[in-house]
């Protein structure tokens, strides 16, 4: 065994960044070297080692040491590597580099080594945990004078050599014992309730045999909340489920009535939803959440989330190309230092750590895959302290016809080979699906965390897109791994046969059930007709993608799985997919009782505006947009940062074809704070905002579609279910009136945490019910798009839409620590008319800038347009007839701020027919807002821009 350390000989910026963090901890220690370390699991000669070391350095800036510390004047050395079995991408690349050079395979393991002076042992421990996560990292701390000892992180599974066989489970037990098996599981949680267990018991009683552990685990995966969405499908109060009634119901109604003109060939049935882009192409979109894993390992959870949703895109139809990533984060307050424990001694990560890790995970996932990350948002609320919400989405692009067939139709045929492609299988990611269906608590398995490898996936994506036409069907291996993907595709041919020992593994010793349900990353399942297998495999080989035949699709009506000669699973597909008894739930309609507060009228509204612009939910998050490559693929038209002043955009536009002017607009709407008052208006406002942003950039209602993501809590509480029902009702009513169908959606129902506070008191913490609406609109001609930044001094300023006394759940009330009662409501009769007129005005080129009023109300939106355009404002709010602070900070939906050149003002006003308030004009620099003769806001562009940007500018 050997060890090579690579270290810079010029100023090390990474070490400097780390030192800043150490200083932040109040510890007096200094990093004197930071190295990339390669541990080689083979005995090599000195010359060979030097040859290898030279491959890892650039001699202009780096040096190496072999089998020795790189320097010796240290007091502490901290090595952070990976735990055995955790994906080590750097190690894998180093392996290939050495193999190319020495022409022999050599296992390599990577770590980072930090040399420090100063600090006590416990302080060094504290530092180490800042740069490592105990769930995936191995930390070794050594003192000066301790010899360097080289260890290899090898997996040794504690498997008895017994049998490869699957265990038989006795379900002929009392009801209580049956429920216990469903709860506790056999090899870890099953998360099957009494009804489900009863159905399984009956099935096997009729068969006259005992189930194997493979069968039980498989049923648990397929029947999990994560896969089956039991709450959303459940009969509620003895009526049809929420999904069918309200979400699918809205889409069917819209598509049948042809109220909208957007054509959707594939909704809800596939891994993504799709709409027609033009004669030749479809656009797909899908938004996922990855909340529980991100709470435990923020980086790993987030990168796995974004790569997973990329595979939902690759797995659409016969394979769509990912062209845009979207994100959305709901975090606890980063300054919150209160400690939370999963068990009495397992500490939860701090909100700041979670935030940093999640942002980084989405960055690495997107940037390394060459997919631009454009549209996004970030919200803060202390209720997200234990369970952050991490939304990740991917827009895809696919020709409408592939190999002579409609691309959105896929069908595995009997006799097609089942191929698994991508990475190998390990025990990482066993039980992910059942785990996210439970509240986060002490028993949550550490193996639920997986690490994504964007390069393995990028290679797979390149290969798949090249092989399009050679396969009949494709599905992502996400939740439930092979057990779910193969069983899902088996529906197409009506049966499957799998030989488990053919599955390539990371290490020996995995049990059959582990092979079957593992969620190891970067894998997809493909159905390839026998005559095309050879051609398919040769494309995979060219791209360096592992591909293995592991079985066949059949028409047996069964899912049959063997390990060697032994049948370890033999279930009717009908039972596997339809055997789960429908859940029955009851909801109660109970609205929270809040009062509208009587607040002191603020004296200095300029000061209030400055404070508002500085609020975490409103201020600039440029630091995120700047580290996410939003330019790759060359298609960005309206970018995540708008104007010279670089204000975060609420809608972005891109064009997938560089030689065409057709485009795609994306936006999002999310207002969890309104849900505190009424979940109905939370959902309605989210839809309104998501479509209003599309209108503001030049999109059209009739070419826009929606995606829903419900993130709820305590799904067994009738009150929470009542809120869920109200939100779903709002989705139906609003979407149907706008004619904007839902094309895809996902829900995550168990966002609850049970643990302990720092005084060992038991606590439970749930997220506020949250709905995210994502919108996607087709833009006929991107040259007519409008951005939000004010363009020229002298342009006329308008507020479009009515401002009402609606500050309930607003940012202004939150700043005053009250919730309020007057929640913003969408008046569909007003907004539909208005949006139609504004669409026309923009289409005719009458509008210079447009911006949908959002969090923080009019004053904040005016300031943002001014900052973006590096201009000022002279406005008068007298005609809005509300108390000044209400006019300025009410969050009434349905409104825009629009600027129009003087020469177009007449035509614009005529087109809008009295639905506007002309409030003033754009100025070069000064920012004045009057109420009649009284000056209420008096500041400058420079002052506003500073407070808008200062909060996160050191991040």
């Amino acid at each position: 065994m050997h060890r090579i350390e690579v270290f810079p000989i010029i100023t090390d910026t990474r070490a400097a960044m780390r030192e800043r963090k150490i200083t932040g901890l109040g510890i007096e220690a200094r990093i004197i070297a930071l190295t990339d370390t390669y541990t080689i699991d083979k005995n090599l000669f000195k010359e060979q080692l030097e040859q290898c070391a030279l491959l890892f350095i650039n001699p202009v800036i780096e040096k190496y040491s072999i089998d020795d510390y790189c320097i010796h004047n240290f007091e502490w050395v901290v090595d952070v590597g990976f735990l055995p079995g955790v994906t080590d991408n750097i190690g894998a690349t180093a392996h290939q580099t050495i193999e190319d050079c020495l022409c022999m395979p050599v296992n390599v393991y990577s770590s980072q080594t930090m040399y420090l002076v100063g600090g006590t042992y416990s302080e060094i421990q504290k530092i180490a945990t800042q740069f490592a996560n105990p769930l995936i990292n191995k930390i070794t701390i050594r003192k000066r004078n301790e010899p360097l000892c080289i260890t290899i992180p090898k997996v040794s599974l504690q498997m008895p050599l017994q049998s490869t066989a699957a265990a038989l489970i006795d379900l002929d037990v009392s009801d209580a014992a049956l429920v216990a098996i469903g709860n506790k599981g056999i090899n870890g949680p099953l998360a099957l309730d009494g009804d489900a267990m009863k159905a399984i018991q009956n099935y096997f009683r009729n068969k006259g045999r005992k189930p194997t552990d493979v069968e039980l685990e498989s049923l648990a995966q397929t029947w999990s909340e994560h896969c089956k969405h039991r709450i959303f499908a459940a009969q509620m109060n003895n009526r049809e489920g929420l999904f069918k009634t309200y979400i699918q119901g809205a889409t069917e109604r819209i598509l049948n009535m042809k109220w909208g003109h957007v054509t959707c060939p594939s909704v809800f049935v596939d891994n993504s939803g799709a709409l027609v882009f033009d004669d030749k192409y479809l656009v797909t979109h899908k938004v996922e959440t990855h909340n529980s894993p991100s709470a435990l390992d923020p980086f790993g959870g987030a990168i796995t989330g974004i790569l997973g949703v990329n595979r939902d895109c690759l797995g659409f139809g016969t394979g769509a190309k990912p062209i845009i990533n979207t994100y959305g984060f709901c975090f606890g307050i980063p300054e919150d230092n209160k400690k939370l424990y999963r068990t009495k001694n397992v500490l939860m990560l701090s909100p700041k750590r979670i935030m940093e890790g999640v942002i980084e995970g989405v960055r690495v996932g997107g940037n390394c895959s060459g997919i631009p990350t454009t549209q996004g948002f970030m919200l803060f609320n202390e209720q997200y302290r234990a369970k952050p919400l991490v939304f990740v989405g991917t827009v895809g692009f696919i020709p409408r016809t592939v190999a002579g067939k409609p691309s959105h139709e896929k069908k595995a045929l009997p006799e097609d080979y089942i191929l698994m492609i991508g990475g190998k299988v390990g025990v990482d990611g066993v039980h992910g699906a059942t785990f996210s269906s439970e509240a986060l608590n002490a028993g949550s398995p550490a193996t639920a965390v997986q690490i994504g490898d964007p390069i393995t996936q990028k290679k797979m994506a390149d290969a798949l897109l090249e092989a399009r036409g050679l396969y009949n069907s494709i599905t992502d291996n996400g939740a439930g791994g092979l057990s779910c993907s193969i069983a899902e595709m088996a529906k197409e041919s009506n049966g499957c046969f799998v030989q488990l020992e053919n599955i390539p593994t990371k290490y020996a010793g995995m049990a059959p059930w582990q092979l079957w349900v593992s969620e190891s990353q970067e894998r997809m399942t493909i159905a390839v007709p026998p005559e095309r297998v050879e051609a398919f495999l040769s494309v995979m080989k060219k791209h360096g993608v592992e591909a293995t035949t592991i079985g066949k699709f059949t028409h047996s009506g069964k899912c049959t799985v063997k390990y060697g000669n032994e049948t370890v699973m033999d279930l009717e597909l009908d039972f596997l997919h339809n055997g789960l008894p429908k859940k029955k739930v009851a909801s109660t309609d109970e609205l929270a009782r809040h009062r509208e507060p009587i607040l002191k009228v603020p004296k200095d509204l300029t000061h209030v505006l400055t404070e508002m612009l500085n609020r975490a939910n409103i201020c600039s998050r440029e630091f995120i947009s700047r580290q996410y490559d939003h330019e790759v693929q060359g298609g960005s038209v309206l970018k995540p940062l708008i104007g010279k002043g670089r204000v975060n955009a609420d809608a972005t536009v891109a064009r997938p074809l560089l030689d065409s002017y057709r485009g795609i607009a994306l936006s999002q709407g999310i207002f969890p704070s309104y849900g505190d008052i009424d979940a109905y208006w939370m959902a309605a406002c989210a839809i309104d905002y998501a479509v209003r942003n599309i209108i503001a950039v030049g999109g059209k209602l009739e070419q826009t579609a929606l995606l829903d993501n419900f993130c709820w809590c305590s799904p067994n509480d009738p009150k929470r279910l009542g809120q869920l029902k109200r939100a779903a009702e709002a989705c139906y009513n609003t979407a149907v009136m706008y004619g904007t169908p839902f094309i895809s959606g996902k829900d995550s129902m168990h966002n609850d945490f049970r643990g302990f506070d720092e005084y060992e008191n038991k606590i439970s913490l749930s997220i506020p019910p949250t709905i995210l609406i994502s919108s996607i609109g087709i833009i006929s001609d991107i040259r007519k798009c409008i951005s939000m930044d004010f363009k020229k001094s002298g342009d006329v300023l308008y507020i479009i839409g009515k401002t009402r006394d609606e500050l309930g759940g607003s940012e202004y009330y939150a700043m005053n620590d009250v919730v309020g009662k007057n929640v913003p409501m969408v008046r569909l009769d007003e907004t539909i008319q208005l949006y139609g007129k504004l669409e026309k005005a923009i289409e005719q080129g009458l509008v210079e800038s447009a911006h949908a009023v959002g969090l923080g109300g009019l004053a904040v939106s005016l300031a943002k347009c001014a900052i973006a355009g590096r201009k000022g404002v002279h406005g008068d709010i007298n005609q809005l007839h509300l108390p000044q602070y209400k006019t300025l900070f009410s969050e009434s939906p349905g409104r825009f701020i629009v600027s129009v050149s003087q020469k177009n003002a007449g035509a614009f006003e005529k087109m809008l027919e009295c639905m506007y308030f002309r409030i003033g004009y754009v100025t070069p620099h000064m920012f004045f807002v009057r109420d009649g003769s009284k000056l209420v806001i008096n500041t400058t562009l420079t002052a506003l821009e500073r407070v808008y940007k200062v909060r996160f500018n050191k991040w």
């Binding site: 650039n58 580099t97 038209v637 930044d789």
Partner: protein
Amino acid sequence: MVKALVLTGYGINCNEETKYAFERAGALTEQMHITELIENKKKLETYHLLAFPGGFSYGDDTGSGKALANRLRNTMWEELLQFIAVGKLIIGICNGFQVMTNLGLLPAITGEYGARTVALTHNTSARYECRWVELIGSSKCIFTQGIDKIELPIAHGEGRFYASDNTVNELTKRDMIALRYAKNGFSAKGEFPYNPNGSLDDIAGICDESGRIFGLMPHPERFIDTYQHPLWTKNLPKEGAGLQIFTNAVRYFI
């Protein structure tokens, strides 16, 4: 017809837009996977132009550009030298530039291809930066002829140009610094964010002694038409300024 080859595979990800840029510039352009090229090395000589596009070849594990450079050095070094020797053109963009410096194709002062004398390392901000920058240039580089000022986007975590003082002096003396980060028309003098990564002497792109081998951190292929510029909604030149870099290369052979 002028023929261009754009490399793909193993984590390269700017290949399609690079191909599009060469096509707009009038070249017959093909993409080829690294494996395919290594297996058919002779094919390289049928092209006039070779592009190493941006991306994350081999995930940038073991250092940006190193793994792909090692691969090419071990498999087709002679063919690359031959390609240069017969007077053809190579461009490396972003990760492609990193690959070329690790291969020692740049700067190759006094024509010594293979020696590593410059490096592109972690940005001084220690952050990945995606932003538009202003650049100025005047050199013997064939790709940047006629471009004294240009705006382009950068997107990288390791773009900080570093070399010994001696090397930088030689580069200056020999007119090999093709592009420098700038502020209002003058060299940025290291000021962030105009110089977005802490590059020595504001160096954003260099060429070899012949001017035919060119590497740069910014992405000219992302500014081929006006609707890619962040301020196109205000006022706009019709054509994206980045196109000139590709047109210069194609015209060199006409």
